[in-house]
């Protein structure tokens, strides 16, 4: 098996996989999906321990079976996934088709540590539309290593929302790659709350004129969690736009990482790249590391990034309390307001509700 990346690799500078490497994982075996999994009233695909549960799922049109594909890149986790993958979702939406929304749930039940590496392929034809909502959850110790390859043809639009709420003992390392053609749009929002150690790595490439991508995230971590949200946005064509709003809230001894690189190739004139990441540290012992990178080879571009790390503003808390609102409720209101901006691109109402409930639940569990 390909070796796991170490911290010597610049891209893995802030995330140490030693704790993952020290676990001995068995191959995943099929399991039973519990009742009461989230249902948003749309076609629902359920994977248990990385294996498709045909009985419980209500598949959408345009779904085909898993297809093994060779891995072209040299990214270690993608290579491991290619070696080990034996299931996944392939969705191909034809030209000019609005495929509505699809819910993809990954559930894991591990009595003994297991690992599974689903490989998903999402292809949207010219002018096609799809909203893909993913929820990752489970119990016990497991390693979930999904790779998702997305290809958007001209004018296609994919809304991709992920709620990562894996077991607190799990390892979640996701890789998402998107090739975005002219005038196509890839809009992604990730909410990260679960797993002992997680990394969500996004690689959108803007390949044609007018392509657009938005990568937002909200990370809420506590205890000893470690969450890494890494993005490399490549502007390969002129007149493309990328936008990122990343909000992180770290409590207890949690550690959050955001690495956001914007690469603008020589030919990518008139690029519009914007990135903003903000973090709140709620306690001593919490940590946030941010590395917003710009690599620019074209001169007629508008690129900027901003990063702030701080705490809740005591003036704001006092203002709310002076109006009778308890300190706890005041903090909850301010954190919700803080995270709102990241949620802005989530236009699917049910998905929005899902995320807002997740934020409320996180705060209530404090």
């Amino acid at each position: 098996m390909t070796a796991l990346p170490t911290r010597k690799l610049e891209a893995w500078r802030y995330t140490d996989l030693k704790s993952l490497a020290s676990v001995s994982f068995a191959d995943a075996v099929p399991g039973l999906a519990p009742l009461g999994l989230p249902d948003l009233g749309v076609p629902r695909l359920i994977f248990v321990n990385g294996i498709y549960d045909a009985q419980r799922s209500t598949p959408p049109d345009f779904l085909s079976g898993f297809a093994r594909v060779a891995e072209a890149s040299d990214q270690p986790l993608a290579l491991i996934n290619a070696e080990q993958a034996h299931d996944g979702v392939t969705i191909t939406v034809p030209d000019d088709t609005d495929a509505g929304a699809v819910l993809l749930i990954s559930y894991a039940a591990a009595e003994n540590p297991i690992a599974f590496h689903p490989r998903h392929r999402i292809t949207l034809g010219m002018g096609a539309r799809l909203t893909l909502i993913e929820i990752a959850m489970g119990q016990g110790v497991y390693w979930h290593n999904p790779v998702t390859d997305i290809a958007l043809h001209e004018n296609a639009k994919l809304q991709h929302y992920q709620l990562q709420n894996e077991s607190i003992e799990a390892f979640h390392l996701a890789t998402i790659r998107a090739k975005i053609a002219a005038s196509a749009a890839y809009v992604s929002f990730s909410m990260v709350q679960g797993a002992k150690l997680s990394r969500a790595e996004f690689h959108p490439t803007l390949m044609g004129v007018g392509a657009v991508t938005q990568l937002n995230a909200a990370q809420l971590l506590r205890g000893q969690q470690h969450g890494d949200y890494t993005c490399v946005v490549k502007h390969d064509a002129p007149n493309c736009a990328s936008r990122q709003v990343v909000k992180s809230v770290m409590d207890d001894h949690a550690r959050g990482v955001f690495q956001g690189r914007i690469e603008v190739a020589r030919a990518a004139q008139k690029t519009d790249g914007y990135q903003m990441s903000q973090a709140l540290l709620l306690s001593d012992g919490a940590e946030m590391d941010i590395k917003p990178e710009l690599e620019i080879f074209a001169d007629d571009v508008k690129c900027s990034h901003g990063a702030t790390i701080g705490a809740l503003d005591p003036e704001q808390i006092f203002y709310l309390r002076s109006r009778g609102i308890s300190e706890d409720q005041a903090r909850a209101m301010l954190i919700r307001a803080f995270l709102n901006e990241a949620l802005e691109p989530v236009s699917h109402a049910a998905a929005r509700g899902l995320f807002e409930a997740a934020i409320d639940k996180w705060w209530a569990e404090k």
């Binding site: 004139q269 540290l281 590391d289 001169d299 508008k302 990063a307």
Partner: protein, 488 residues
């Protein structure tokens, strides 16, 4: 619309000046054999009449260096440096001069060409309150130090470091290597083994150094590594402003510059360190030029101490330097103001590190990068808030200006915070000189050269205003020379 071909050509014409400081001096040079080994280290130490402890220190550094590897994480490409093919010591032959009258007249005339005010009387006759003392370094030996008497009256020590090792060993022993340890990195280890000279500055308690201190560097002989070592100490409530400016002659083979600068500021002390650097950048095809690998670090040890780094860098074929501040003392302040300009095939990977340790510390970083030609300009910065740094505040602004579409401007900031009460703010923008900006200037009568200069000056305003007055004019002239203007 991107910069027109016309603008690009203008910039090229302006920057590709014949390097005005490119000439050699025919002075008898005493050189050691090429290459580096323990014998050479001993020779250097013996030549300078160093005490045993200094030699031991150098040998320790040499042993460490042999085990280390050149760092490769910067965005810099260069042919491998053959460390065995360099001279590690070069000084004018003959005993050290006692007064200016004893100095080699060729040397003096060279300094005159460079505009260095070595003539004490002429400087004094000028504006009395604006005197600049100079410790002029010619290759590896400090040749003349002026104004020593005036400074001595306030208790300020400003002398070559080789002299400080002999005359003030207790101070040197106490502080040398305490901010940049021998084994800190490949280049600092090399420097610690073979440093030949540099400045030593000591400001005693409560003294505000009465004049700005400055040093001019010059690399002359072929294939001579320049390993300057500077140590500046400001005791409680002391303050000093130090200026560093460099020039070098035209060369075909690359020349290595691996300096180390250590600053120590105690309670309520202030050190302002300003650099205007125009080492030979290489010709239009990227041949030749200085390799500048420098380690500069300031320790704000005392409460409410302050260290400011201000630099305008336009030269060197390759620049690798990260002037940094360790903010240990409660309430201490670190500042970094920088303009880095790259043209032709220059490569720069520079920035700063601000490490917040004490409580209520503040750091400000303003970095302006200008890229032209086929150059690559990278800002690499680290802001690190340690768990004990309650109330820390950082503000960083790094902006890039691109001229033409064959260059690159890159930003790699690392922001690491482990204290919930700290506030870190970072902003970066990228822009270019717009066609309509140039047109506007020209419609008001400015030539395109002047327009470019005006816009670049505006872009760098926030940094240039931090330079001491003497340097500010020099810096603007330098930017102008690098980007516009003709040889005088």
């Amino acid at each position: 619309m991107s910069a027109t071909a016309e603008t690009r050509d203008t910039v090229n014409a302006l920057a590709g000046q014949k390097y005005q400081y490119g000439f050699e001096t025919d002075i008898a040079m005493e050189e050691f054999p090429k290459g580096l080994n323990e014998e050479i280290v001993r020779l250097i130490s013996a030549k300078k009449n160093e005490p045993e402890w200094m030699l031991a220190w150098r040998l320790k550094a040499y042993a460490m260096w042999r085990k280390m590897e050149e760092p490769d994480w910067a965005r810099i490409k260069h042919p491998p440096i053959d460390y065995e093919n360099l001279y590690y010591y070069a000084a004018p032959s003959g005993p050290a001069p006692k007064t200016l009258e004893d100095v080699d007249p060729n040397l003096l005339s060279m300094y005159e060409k460079l505009g260095i005010p070595l003539n004490e009387r002429a400087a004094l006759a000028g504006v009395e309150t604006n005197t600049v003392a100079v410790d002029a370094v010619f290759d590896s030996v400090s040749v003349a130090t002026t104004f020593r008497e005036t400074l001595a009256k306030s208790g300020v020590i400003f002398c070559p470091i080789s002299e400080a090792v002999r005359e003030h060993p207790e101070l040197v022993k106490k502080y040398l290597g305490s901010v940049v340890p021998i084994g800190d990195n490949f280049f600092s280890a090399l420097n610690s083994a073979v440093f030949s000279d540099g400045s030593f500055v000591f400001i005693p308690k409560g003294v505000r150094c009465p004049m700005e201190l400055s040093t001019y560097f010059r690399i002359n002989a072929r294939n001579t590594g320049q390993f300057e070592r500077t140590l500046i100490i400001a005791e409680d409530k002391a303050s000093v402003s130090y200026l560093e400016g460099c020039t070098a002659p035209q060369r075909d083979e690359n020349q290595l510059h691996a300096a180390v600068v250590e600053l120590v500021a105690l309670d309520n002390a202030t050190i302002k360190y300003s650099t205007v650097q125009n080492w030979y950048p290489g010709d239009a095809d990227g041949k030749g030029g200085i390799y500048n690998f420098v380690t500069k670090r300031g320790a704000c040890r005392g409460a409410h101490s302050k260290i400011s780094w201000t630099q305008v860098e336009t030269g060197s074929a390759i620049t690798w330097k990260y002037p940094s501040c360790i903010l240990q003392g409660d309430g201490s302040v670190g500042e970094f103001y920088s303009v880095a300009l790259t043209h032709n095939h220059q490569q720069a990977d520079t920035g700063t590190k601000m490490i917040h340790l004490g409580r209520n510390t503040t750091s400000t970083i303003i970095s302006k990068g200008i890229s032209a030609g086929y150059s690559n300009n990278t800002y690499r910065g680290l802001v690190k808030i340690m768990p004990g740094a309650t109330g820390a505040r950082n503000f960083t602004q790094c902006d890039s200006l691109l001229i033409g579409d064959h260059c690159g401007a890159h930003t790699v900031p690392y922001i690491e915070s482990r204290n919930p009460s700290a506030k870190v703010e970072h902003e970066a923008t990228t822009s270019r000189i717009a066609e309509d900006q140039l047109f506007y200037c020209r419609s008001r009568g400015l030539s395109e050269e002047d327009a470019v200069g005006l816009i670049v000056n505006g872009f760098c305003k926030d940094v240039l205003k931090e330079l001491p007055m003497e340097f500010a004019v020099e810096a603007q002239k330098l930017l102008a020379v690098s980007l516009e203007g003709s040889v005088g």
